[in-house]
């Protein structure tokens, strides 16, 4: 799809094309909305709770503390190598719960669709949401659908809220101590660059794939085996640099990362060079940063390695005693530089 055609392609509509494309009327809350739900959404997402179609989903009582999160997804293009907006919408929210030590209990899904969006695309995204939710072992228990005018919402925006339950003490920056090590579950920058490349250079055949994936099962295994996980973070917007700089700032301690240990795939590195971007600042949607006491590092790596998403996990850094809230990178060359949170919007519309 070339740039000029991009916006109109999804939304071109012949007058009586209600059959294959979304119309404004589908968002009206009336019979056409019901029809859309029955034909394009519920077949994919349906489950006992959702199917009740009450104004709220009533969840069973569960012991523990509630974790609650929300995220908006405005990625362009809607589909990219390795995933789509649907997979992103589930993974992002599930991972936000998981890194706080919460078991996901249910997702709420808000769809904002553009008039003229092909129903086929909507259904593919719904199927992707269903598959990803199944992977994560969670359901979409409630939702809402609105339709806005042609050209707005670039096809589709999704907002996902998630509720989870934390039993016991959850990870928190205050639990991070001097001497703790920092583990990263795999390679960086794959998601952001896969999306950017798909958007900017669709003609290129790339080996790049987004890493978008729900990590809650991997994290659950980790936390079962290692009780001392101090803190976790998924390095999405702002990349690893943003997450690490934040960790230093919040704990007030000194964080050191070792560049040699940070995995960047060759195709990712090359794409970054072409687009003038630094992989350390690029979003990841299937990775987690974990802080554990040094004594538990080997055990943590073993636990992560038992999950296919964690086979490339490595210790990439440590927390040091200086109370300056600074994050430093020890470079491949043996030099040092400060890692900061990226200043502005390096990568628009990648999640």
């Amino acid at each position: 799809m070339s740039g000029g055609e991009r916006k109109t392609d999804l939304c071109a509509m012949a007058p009586a094309a209600y059959g294959t494309r979304i119309a404004l009327a589908h968002g009206g809350g009336g019979q056409l909305t019901d029809e859309l739900l029955e034909s394009s959404i519920l077949p994919h997402l349906g489950n006992d709770l959702l199917n009740e179609m009450l104004d709220s989903a009533i969840l069973p009582q569960t012991p523990g503390r509630l974790a609650f999160t929300i995220d908006g997804y405005v990625v362009q293009p809607l589909k990219f190598p390795g995933g789509d907006i649907g997979r992103l919408a589930v993974s992002g929210t599930v991972n936000d719960l998981a890194v706080c030590g919460a078991r996901p209990l249910g997702l709420a899904l808000s769809l904002i669709l553009a008039e003229g969006l092909e129903k086929k695309i909507l259904e593919e995204v719904m199927a992707s949401i269903a598959a990803t939710a199944a992977e994560a072992g969670v359901h979409v228990v409630t939702g809402d659908t609105k339709v806005v005018g042609r050209g707005q919402a670039d096809g589709m925006y999704i907002t996902t809220a998630g509720i989870g339950m934390i039993s016991g003490q959850g990870p928190h920056p205050r639990r991070v101590k001097t001497g703790d090590v920092i583990i990263l579950s795999g390679s960086i920058a794959d998601h952001g660059l896969a999306v950017m490349l798909a958007r900017e250079m669709p003609q290129m055949h790339s080996a790049l794939r987004s890493d978008v994936a729900p990590l809650n099962k991997m994290i659950e295994t980790l936390m079962k085996r290692i009780a001392t996980v101090a803190f976790m973070r998924d390095p999405t917007r702002g990349g690893l640099a943003g997450a690490a700089a934040d960790l230093a700032r919040r704990t007030g301690l000194h964080v050191v990362l070792e560049e040699e240990k940070i995995l960047v795939r060759p195709e990712t590195q090359h794409a970054a060079q072409m687009l003038g971007l630094d992989p350390l600042e690029v979003a990841n949607e299937g990775k987690v940063l974990i802080v554990v006491p040094e004594a538990d590092a080997a055990g943590a790596l073993a636990a992560l390695g038992d999950d296919p998403r964690g086979v490339d996990a490595r210790v990439i850094g440590r927390v040091e005693a200086r109370t300056d809230g600074v994050c430093e990178l020890h470079t491949r060359l043996g030099g040092r530089r400060i890692l900061q949170k990226p200043y502005g919007e390096q990568l628009p519309r990648i999640c």
Binding site: K261, E267, R332
Partner: protein
């Protein structure tokens, strides 16, 4: 802006080549390096091959040459570097400690 990477020409038909750049396949023009053929290693910048590389040099990804025999024809400037023993700085062959 000046980034160029070594790549192998996987196809080459006239001046139209395809290079594999770390897993990203790009079309490259060989207009600026007449005489290269499929299987050759080249330095690629912005869609153009700008220099032919010897395979072993390219394979070591930017290892500096120290061998004077190979540097024959690459004149005085290179020999100065070599005379001072500024030879191969081998890089790890995948970037930044990673494997695919």
């Amino acid at each position: 802006m000046c980034l160029a990477v070594p790549a192998k020409l996987v196809t080459c038909d006239g001046t139209n080549g395809v290079a594999d750049l770390h897993g990203n396949r790009v079309e490259v023009s060989t207009l600026l390096v007449p005489g290269v053929k499929q299987g050759d290693w080249v330095l690629v910048h912005a869609g153009f091959a700008i220099q032919k590389l010897e395979e072993d040099e390219a394979q070591e990804t930017f290892a500096l040459l120290g061998d004077m025999a190979k540097a024959a024809g690459k004149e005085a400037a290179a020999s100065v570097a070599a005379e001072r023993g500024f030879s191969a700085t081998t890089r790890p062959d995948t970037r930044k400690g990673g494997s695919k």
